[in-house]
Each structure stands twice: as C-alpha cells, then as structure tokens.
Amino acid sequence: MNNAISIKNIKKTYPKTGILALEDFSLEIADGELFGLIGPDGAGKTTLFRILTTLILPDFGTAKVAGFDIIKQLWDIRKIVGYMPGKFSLYQDLTVEENLRFFATVFNTSVEANYDLIEDIYVQLQPFKNRRAGKLSGGMKQKLALCCALIHQPRVLFLDEPTTGVDPVSRKEFWDMLDQLKRKGISILVSTPYMDEAARCDRIALLQKGQVLDVDTYEGILLKNQKPMLALRSAHMFKLLTDLRRFPATERCYSFGSVHHLVLKAGYPYRENELMDYLQNLGHEDIVCQKIKAEIEDVFIDLMSGVA
C-alpha cells in the first residue's frame, strides 16, 4: 500500500531572496489520513504545498503523491489532486455556480457527476448560487473554494490555510466538513496557524522556519513534551507577568488566555510557598496558582525556543 504522500529530504531556497524555505524536510503521510501542518507564517507550509502540487521544484530531494513522482509524473499528479491555495482563488466576478461549473469543466468532469461528494457543503451555498463569489463572506468563500477543489473527486486534497481569517464558528464547521471527507476516503493535508485546530487532525507536524519540530498524533506530541508548568493569575496581570519573569525558578513566562503560564527551570528546587511569598512581597493580591499540563501552544513555544 502506497502512502498518500511521501517526502524525502526536500530542500528549497528561493533564489531571489535567498530565503531558506525548507531544510532537509522528510515526512510520510498514510493513505486516508487527515494530516495537519501546524506553524506560523514563514514556516514553509506554502512552499511545501507548492512542491507537492507540482507548482515548484525542490532544489534537492524527492517526493511522491499517491505514488507518483512530483517531478517526472507531473500530469498524473495533476489529475488526482485537489488544491486550495492560501490566497482566495476563485473568480470574484463569476457567480457561485459559474465558478463551480468552470472548475468542474477544467478537470474534465461535471458538477452532476460528482455532486454527492460536495452535496453536504454545497447545500449551504445553494441559496446564494447566483451571487458573485466576490460578495460572499469569508466563511462562504472558503466553502465554495473547497467545493471547487473537490469537484473532480481528488484522491489527495491539499488545503493551504483554509481557515485563516475565518471566525471560530465557521472554522469549526469547516473542520466538521473535513471529517466527513476523510470518512469518504480522501487523504487530506491541511495547514493552519491556529494551534487549537491541531486536535482535529489524525497526526500533525509542528513546523518552524522550514524545519519539522515534531511529528506525531496530537496526544503523542503533548505526552512527550511535558514540562513542569504553572498557571497563575492575580489582580494585576501585566505586573504579574513582569514579576514572574524575574522569579529565579522561571524558565519562561507568557500570557495564555486569562492566565499566565510559567515554565519552571529543569532541576530547580521549587516550592509553592516560595513563589507565593515572592509575589505577596511584591504586593500581588488574589493570587491563584495551579499546576497544569502543557497544551499544544505551550509545546510549540517550547520547541520553538529550542530552535531559536
């Protein structure tokens, strides 16, 4: 059984800017997997997508998509992949329906032939089918773009930051749709800058500056990257942050939602009383402190600091 995607030692530097986008990048993605690339802008996600969709050539290394070589078997790959680029990539001046029909024709198929695959998504767009794509909201555009990428029943689906700039509700709906597609047997590679979306993938790769920080299931990554951590809050959060950073046992401290996360130095003898005394002496009131487990964003920050 072939892997859906197999990447070996890919390297890519952009000649104009000299920016190193990917460095010795290897990754295996199984057939039928929903795989997430998690990382900020500049991590190399888009470059990787473009290499895998045969849009650009790597400087070094090889990759296969559904068993086809990205360099030699370009036209085979183009028949079986669906791609949704990061930039909004529909014809703004064509209507919802016209866009869909056009992309269906480009892939030598028709909307009717593959309607069952997109039906669940397209019913939401149906009321606006005569509206021009440029006049849709962010969430709706995303759904239409997904329909257009799916219309030829691709075996592998590439989604480059489909949820960026979309509100949490639309994002949740979008991930529900991906779950359904996965059940229909499509392998999906999706990238996102939102760490919380990592939990919705079968496996994830954390990327930073063209390098893989870690690859595993969501739970696996959390499990192996735990460090002693505290969550703290008090009446004056900003002052608390600066004070905590000066505390001798602090490896790192940063705000995290309504609390601050404090990573303790490894091997430093820590006693809770000592921290409480330290803070009370600095005039903090209503201090709440509890031990916590690292979340995915904590892990990312930790791994990122290791790279930098």
Binding site: L57, W75, S89
Partner: protein
C-alpha cells in the same frame, strides 16, 4: 474542446461584467476616431494665410481666388514687404505665407516655368505640412486647367504626395494610424492584464494544478480578445465609412484578413508580456511604455520615418505597428492589392510566430 468552450465563455463573462474594461474596449475606438477625425481636420480648415503678391497679375489673382474660396484657407493678411511676413510669423498669427514673385505670368508664358514660394510656420510641422500640401494641390488643379486651355505645357511645382488623396479630405487619412494604435493598445494590454490577473488572484495556481495544458490556457485567453479586437476593427471601419465618409478602396476581405493578422501579432505580444510579469500594474505599464509608446513614435503616422536618424530608422523595423500601418495605407488609402503588401504581411507573420514561440517557451507549467 468542452474545456476550451467553458474557458472562452468564462473569459467573455469577465469582460462583459467589468464595465470599465468594456468601456475602454468599445469606447476607445469610437472616441479616438471622432477626436482624430474631427478635431484634427478642423484645425487644418480655416488656416490663416498671408499673401505677399509681387506679381499682381492674372495668375496670382487666380490662385489667390482659388485659395480664398477653399474651406481650408482664410486669407487674413495682404502684405507689401517681406519684413511684415516675418513679424506675422513671430507673433504666430499666420500658418502660411504665400509669395508670388514679380513677373509670374510672364515667366510662365515665356519660359514655361513659374515659381511660387510657400513659407510655412513649422512650429506645428504636421499641420503645416498638410496645409502646404493643400496649397500645392490647389496650384496643381489650376495648372491642370491651364493645360486644358493652352497648348504649351506650363509647369508650376506640385507635390507628388497628394496623389492618393486628391479630394483633400484629411479626416480619414488618420484612420489607418488610429486603427493601428488602438489594436496595438487593446490587443497587448488586455490580454496581458487578463492573464496576469489570474496570477494575482491565485486562480492561476489552481489552473496549473489541473490537467489543463498550458497551450489551452493560452488559446482560450487569446480567442475572446481576438473576437473583441475584430469587433473594434469593424466599429472603426463603420465609423470611418459613415461618419468620416471614407471611401472603401481596396479589397475589404484582404483588409479584414490583414487586421486579423495584426491582432494576432498584438495578442501574442500580450501573451509574451504576461509570461514575463507578475502584477497587473507592471503588465499595463509595460504595454503602455514598452509597446504603445514605440508604436506611436515609430509607427510612421506621427513622425515620418524617412526623417529620422538612421539608427532610429533601424529600430523602427522592429516595431510591428510600422508594418501594419503600411499595409493599411496601401489597402485603405491607395486601394492596392496583396502583391504590394506581401513583404509587410510576411514580416508580421514572422513576428507573430516568434512571439508565440517565446511565449509558449516562457509559459511555465510550474510557478517558478
């Protein structure tokens, strides 16, 4: 084939829904024909002329009378001295000065040869040039009549240039020039912008990651604009024929075929531009400055190419508009047949082929 049809349909939607480009596409030819046709011909009409008549005989009186009754000239000053003429020119009050030497009639009858001096205000060389030609034509007319009534062939200097425009209708002589410019501008700019727009929007990425071959993308981009440019050709010809009352000389079919050839040249040039640039702005800038300006300067309708320095004459050979302008002049104004434009047609075909080959080579099947 189905893909091609769908793609072409889509291109037409783009054009028809973008009111701005549609206005340019259809409005520009109308506007330019009317402006060039009327504004410029009006300027030539009623040119002010100063007369310095040292002859004061029958011949000079006849010629002056003919000038005066023509709609192109207003005799505004009758002078006695050369100095007066010079000061009139300095104050920019007259466009032409006509000097009839003493004993004009005697010279003409005695030696069979007479001379009239025409002094033109070359501040505006094109218009002045045209008016000088008109004067020559009027003189030639008069001379012809003299031939008919007299037996001895008198001769007054006549410009050969008026041969193909004997009615002295100036308006439609601009039509070939305007047509060349419009097709150059629209063909190159519209196609390049329309492809580059897909790059900017990100839709090109999706098209590339599809089984659609590059050649198909190119053809489907070219066809709608070929049709639109051809519509423009028809609009221009119709306007020229009805509004400017231009007679249709030459073979209409040949004319249309040559127009299609030139549109193909500009389209392939546009395709070439689009493969080289990444933004609509650059595409537009390149089309305007890189192609439209040279087309204007080296096309032959603003500045006569024969008067240019040799190096510029050589450069002008590379400008497609120059050759198309020749074709149009030969067919539309002179009414000549295919044998007179073979060279130009071959050059244009060669250029088209060259542009197409480069464009196809440069059109990447990948992003970079």
């Amino acid at each position: 084939m189905r893909v091609l049809t769908a793609f072409i349909k889509k291109e037409f939607w783009h054009v028809l829904r973008d009111r701005r480009s549609l206005t340019i596409l259809l409005g520009l030819p109308v506007m330019m024909i009317l402006i060039f046709g009327f504004a410029l011909s009006n300027e030539v009409k009623n040119s002010s002329v100063a007369i310095l008549d040292f002859a004061g005989d029958d011949v000079s009186a006849q010629i002056i009378h003919r000038l005066n009754s023509s709609q192109y000239f207003d005799i505004t000053h009758r002078l006695r001295r050369f100095d007066d003429l010079e000061s009139l020119f300095r104050q920019n009050q007259v466009r032409l000065g006509l000097v009839f030497p003493a004993n004009l009639q005697d010279d003409l009858i005695g030696d069979g040869e007479g001379a009239i001096q025409i002094i033109g205000n070359a501040v505006d060389p094109n218009t002045t040039n045209t008016t000088i030609q008109y004067v020559s034509a009027i003189v030639a007319d008069y001379q012809k009549e003299l031939w008919q009534t007299q037996e001895i062939p008198y001769q007054i200097d006549v410009s050969y240039r008026m041969l193909y425009n004997p009615q002295l209708e100036s308006a439609y002589t601009f039509v070939p020039g305007v047509m060349t410019l419009i097709l150059m501008l629209l063909g190159t700019m519209m196609t390049s912008v329309s492809i580059v727009r897909e790059k900017e929007m990100g839709t090109m990425e999706v098209l590339l990651v599809s089984p659609m071959r590059p050649i198909l993308v190119i053809i489907s981009k070219a066809i709608p604009y070929l049709v639109l440019c051809f519509v423009d050709v028809l609009i221009i010809l119709l306007l020229a024929y009805t509004v400017l009352e231009m007679p249709l000389r030459g073979n209409l079919l040949l004319l249309l075929l040559m127009c299609i050839l030139f549109v193909l040249t500009t389209l392939t040039l546009g395709l070439l531009v689009s493969t080289l640039v990444e933004s609509q702005q650059v595409a537009m800038f390149l089309s305007l400055v890189g192609f439209f300006m040279p087309a204007l300067i080296f096309g032959g309708y603003l500045f006569p190419i024969e008067n240019m320095p040799e190096i510029l004459q050589v450069i002008s050979n590379a400008v497609p508009t120059r050759w198309f302008y020749n074709i149009l002049k030969n067919i539309m104004i002179k009414g000549l047949g295919f044998e007179y434009i073979i060279k130009e047609a071959i050059i244009l075909s060669g250029m088209t082929f060259l542009f197409l080959v480069i464009a196809l080579k440069k059109f990447k099947i990948r992003l970079m």
